[in-house]
């Protein structure tokens, strides 16, 4: 990705009188001076992508995200389907005057919160694997 700022370097060429700190360096730049593009060398993206730990991390994420997504989509659409085609069932009273239609609609809120909680708990584990992975490749996260 290209940077939107293309700041010109106004420092005169190396060796001129104003050049107090010589520009040419030996060795790599210190961590905090690297730009985003220099942050890691291009070859390393594929080295990380091919790493077994990285692949395992992606698989673990998808193992939660795919079934959880399918679950909430089915759970959600059962509401309009139930209300639309099975009104008799949905009008059954479950608590006092409260019918199944209301109770099921209300349960959707708790379903969403619980799934979000499960996701966050799992993601804490992914964060740890991610840090371990980046340490293995010797790249700083932030």
């Amino acid at each position: 990705m290209s940077s939107p700022h293309e700041d010109k370097d106004h420092t005169p060429t190396v060796g001129s009188q104003t050049d107090i700190a010589p520009l040419g360096r030996s060795g790599p730049k210190p961590e905090h001076e690297r730009t985003a593009d220099e942050d890691i060398d291009p070859v390393q993206w594929s080295r990380i992508a091919d790493d077994a730990d990285f692949k395992a991390l992606v698989r673990r994420k998808l193992r939660l995200i795919v079934p959880a997504t399918l679950f909430f989509i089915v759970y959600y659409f059962l509401l309009p389907i139930g209300v639309g085609w099975f009104p008799g069932l949905m009008e059954k009273k479950v608590w006092g005057a409260v019918n199944l239609a209301y109770a099921y609609a209300l349960s959707q809120f708790f379903m969403a919160w619980i799934l979000a909680g499960i996701y966050v708990a799992a993601a804490a584990g992914w964060d740890r694997s991610e840090h371990a992975l980046l340490r293995k490749f010797g790249v700083q996260h932030r």
């Binding site: 890691i40 997504t69 209300v83 969403a112």
Partner: protein, 524 residues
């Protein structure tokens, strides 16, 4: 005292509360303008918003006047169906949490198109993504502006529709032009706090009438009497489904637009760039889900409460469905509370339009101006921000003019549905494919975006909202246009000979999953 001066006193108070809100937001804007400099500060608030702050801001950006006044009114006049409508707005955030928030924060910079253009040819993809972003933002904004004009006329007698539209337009432009993302964020945070405060108070006052006995509350809903159009008195159980929505397919199509569209709404997506990293983006979705969920659950109390305590007939003769929540506030807490709820409703509109303005201007400046017209390079330093400010001004002026031309009587509800449908049919399929499908290419992205966009618009134009004898039976096109969006993206990919850039896909995979090389928060 006669009711007339009482109402006038109420509108006076409402005006003062509203002016206090405007004054507070202008102070914040002045403070943000003084503090912020540079593109990351302007477009992403320096990426230093915390998780709970961004959660509140996402909620403030999302809960529109249509949610607050519209859903309350729908429940108050027709019962259960209105509550069913509110469910989808929360469940939709699971898509945001699972699919888009973290990869977006990890791999992007300011806009949704950053992620789409990552491994594809940037110019065509950004041009198409910018077109769909501008379409969604401007449709949604016009709906909000017309709504604002109508509301203010009812809330503050003496203020005309045109004056209200111009006032809202000028304020949103000031927030965005001078204060950028930081000011917009704080306007949204304050609005979310006010809206939650008002809703909690309203709910408590309703429950007090039933001695805080939920059984008694729900029992009161089983026999609500109202007068039909032909003057007959009917008594209905307001917990029974199907009192407004007759065609279940309409509900399924709308549900699809909500579930998949929320994760493609540009003004929500850009909020995730304002936090330091993907972990905070995740936390902010969870905060937003808590707030949004509580809010929509509370529609039970103030929506059904208005039905039971005021009755549908009282609402119909006192300002109509949109005024159900404010009228309930007047009934429970007198003129001052009525004034407070009216001011909250107005603050709600302002926060949402400010979010829409900044998303439109960011996309135009970052995607179209800098990356499409100038190949990703600024001609002069600071040009990107300057173009965004000019765009915000132009978008604001356009929205004012269009809202005034359309006038207060135009039906704008379909514009909101259309915004969600375009987001679900154009933006989301392309986003999912570019994150997960290796073979996906530029042709696929452009066809996906354009097919999703045009099919949503065309199907709306031939829907029951527009035609007496509609060619397409559903009010919301999502059920058909979402599969078309996916199909367009897939066909475009497999039919073109273009080779995907596998190295770039690998890089995007690693970036999206690890946050390596992601944009950092600015230093103090």
């Amino acid at each position: 005292m006669s009711p007339l001066p009482l109402a006038a006193a109420g509108s006076q108070t409402s005006l003062w509360i509203f002016l206090a809100f405007v004054a507070a937001t202008l102070v914040i804007t002045w403070y943000s303008a003084r503090k912020s400099s540079g593109a990351s500060a302007y477009f992403a608030a320096g990426r230093r918003i915390t998780g709970w702050q961004n959660g509140l801001a996402v909620a403030g950006d999302y809960m529109s006047a249509a949610s607050f006044l519209g859903i309350a009114g729908m429940i108050a006049t027709n019962g259960y169906d209105g509550f069913m409508y509110s469910v989808g707005f929360l469940v939709a955030y699971l898509t945001v949490l699972f699919v888009v928030a973290e990869p977006l924060r990890n791999a992007g910079k300011y806009t949704m198109a950053d992620v789409l253009a990552y491994r594809l040819k940037p110019r065509p993809v950004r041009a198409a993504a910018s077109l769909s972003t501008l379409t969604v933002s401007i449709f949604y904004m016009i709906a909000q502006m017309v709504g604002a004009g109508v509301l203010v006329r009812q809330l503050i007698p003496g203020v005309s529709y045109e004056l209200a539209v111009i006032g809202v337009g000028i304020l949103m432009v000031i927030y965005v032009v001078f204060g950028g993302m930081l000011a917009t964020t704080w306007v949204q945070i304050i609005k979310a706090v006010l809206l939650m405060g008002g809703s909690i108070l309203l709910s408590i006052l309703v429950l007090q009438r039933y001695d805080f006995d939920l059984g008694k509350f729900f029992s009161s809903l089983t026999a609500i009497t109202s007068t039909t159009a032909d003057g007959q008195s009917v008594t209905r159980n307001f917990l029974t489904p199907g009192l407004i929505f007759k065609n279940p397919w309409d509900q399924i199509s709308l549900g699809m637009a909500l579930l998949l569209g929320t994760a493609g709404l540009p003004h929500i997506l850009i909020r995730f760039y304002t936090v330091p990293d993907a972990k905070t983006a995740r936390a902010s979705v969870v905060w937003a889900m808590i707030i949004i969920g509580l809010f929509y659950i509370m529609t039970t109390f103030f929506g059904f409460g208005a039905a039971s305590l005021l009755g549908p007939d009282h609402i119909a003769t006192n300002g109509g469905t949109n005024m159900a929540a404010p009228e309930l506030a007047r009934f429970l807490g007198g003129e001052i509370f009525f004034a407070f709820i009216c001011a909250v409703a107005f603050a709600t509109i302002l926060a949402v339009v400010a979010g829409l303005t900044i998303s439109a201007s960011t996309s135009f400046a970052h995607d179209f101006f800098v990356n499409v017209l100038h190949h990703g390079k600024e001609q002069k330093a600071g040009e990107e921000v300057r173009v965004a400010r000019i765009t915000a001004f132009v978008v604001g002026a356009l929205a004012i003019v269009i809202a005034i031309i359309l006038g207060p009587s135009v039906n704008v509800a379909f514009l909101v549905g259309l915004a969600f449908a375009v987001a679900a049919s154009a933006n989301l399929p392309v986003m999912i494919f570019s994150l997960y499908w290796k073979r996906f290419n530029t042709t696929g992205a452009v066809t996906g975006l354009l097919v999703g966009l045009s099919s949503s618009i065309i199907l709306i134009l031939v829907s029951p909202d527009f035609m007496k004898e509609p060619l397409f039976p559903l009010k919301n096109p999502a059920l058909v246009s979402v599969p078309l969006g996916f199909l367009g993206a897939w066909l475009g990919t497999i039919l073109s000979k273009e080779k995907p850039d596998e190295a770039k896909f690998t890089e995007l995979m690693v970036r999206a999953n690890t946050g390596l090389g992601a944009e950092k928060a600015s230093a103090h």
